[in-house]
Amino acid sequence: MPFSPDHIAELNLLSQFESSSGQAGIKVHRQDAAPETVQAAERLFSKGLITRDDGGYLTPMGSEAVELAQKLQSILTT
């Protein structure tokens, strides 16, 4: 099953978090960010992966998702 453009946008947004610990939060500025990024943030929030619909911090599930995404990226780039 291929990744949809929505999934890619969500993965790209998750990769913006510095680490899976989510020590630092992020903010998606609705006026400046690309529409797909704004929508990706809203979807990640509704799925319970981040704490706010415009970024915030990783939730425990979001943290796990970032770890898995990092592993996948590492496998694909080696």
């Binding site: 610990s21 989510g22 020590q23 704490t51 425990p60 796990e64």
Partner: protein, 158 residues
């Protein structure tokens, strides 16, 4: 007669000042104790293994309860000082307290994860909790500074 009244008024004023000073010292001392308690929790968390889950939860509960009490006090202080604050100070204090509540909520999410974690997921949940707790601790110190700054300005203006 007038002299007696003046003396009485001075004594009342002095005792009020003394009581206020005692109250401030007591609050400062309990905040310092909480800072110490909070720092110790951050340091000892790393040492808790999955088999010490109950002890870890007790230590976390104690500190979070004390911290919640302090956050409520800060909110009360802001309400009490509200009329004497500038708009900029009000905005800064409100933003600072909002960030503190957000970090507290985030810690709770990780705490729930920690409580529900199996032995194999313990280290990961502990790391997540610990990072969220450090961020809460930093924000709490910042909020204390922000609100104290406003109170100092108010005291100097009197």
């Amino acid at each position: 007669m007038i002299l007696k009244r003046i003396t009485f008024a001075l004594l009342v004023a002095a005792s009020c000042t003394f009581a206020a000073s005692l109250q401030a010292e007591s609050t400062d001392s309990s905040v310092d104790e909480l800072k110490q308690q909070s720092q110790e929790l951050g340091e000892t968390l790393q040492d808790y293994g999955a088999d010490q889950k109950d002890q870890a939860e007790d230590a976390i509960n104690r500190t979070l309860t004390a911290l919640d009490k302090r956050i409520a006090e800060l909110e009360d202080e802001l309400s009490e000082n509200w009329d004497d604050m500038s708009n900029a100070a009000r905005e800064r204090s409100q933003e600072s307290l909002a960030s503190l509540r957000e970090q507290r909520e985030r810690v709770q999410t990780w705490y729930n994860e920690l409580k529900a974690s199996s032995a194999s997921a313990w280290e990961r949940a502990k790391k997540g909790f610990s990072d969220a707790y450090d961020a809460l601790s930093d924000q709490w110190n910042k909020t204390e500074r922000d609100l104290t700054l406003d109170q100092d300005k108010k005291a100097k203006s009197i």
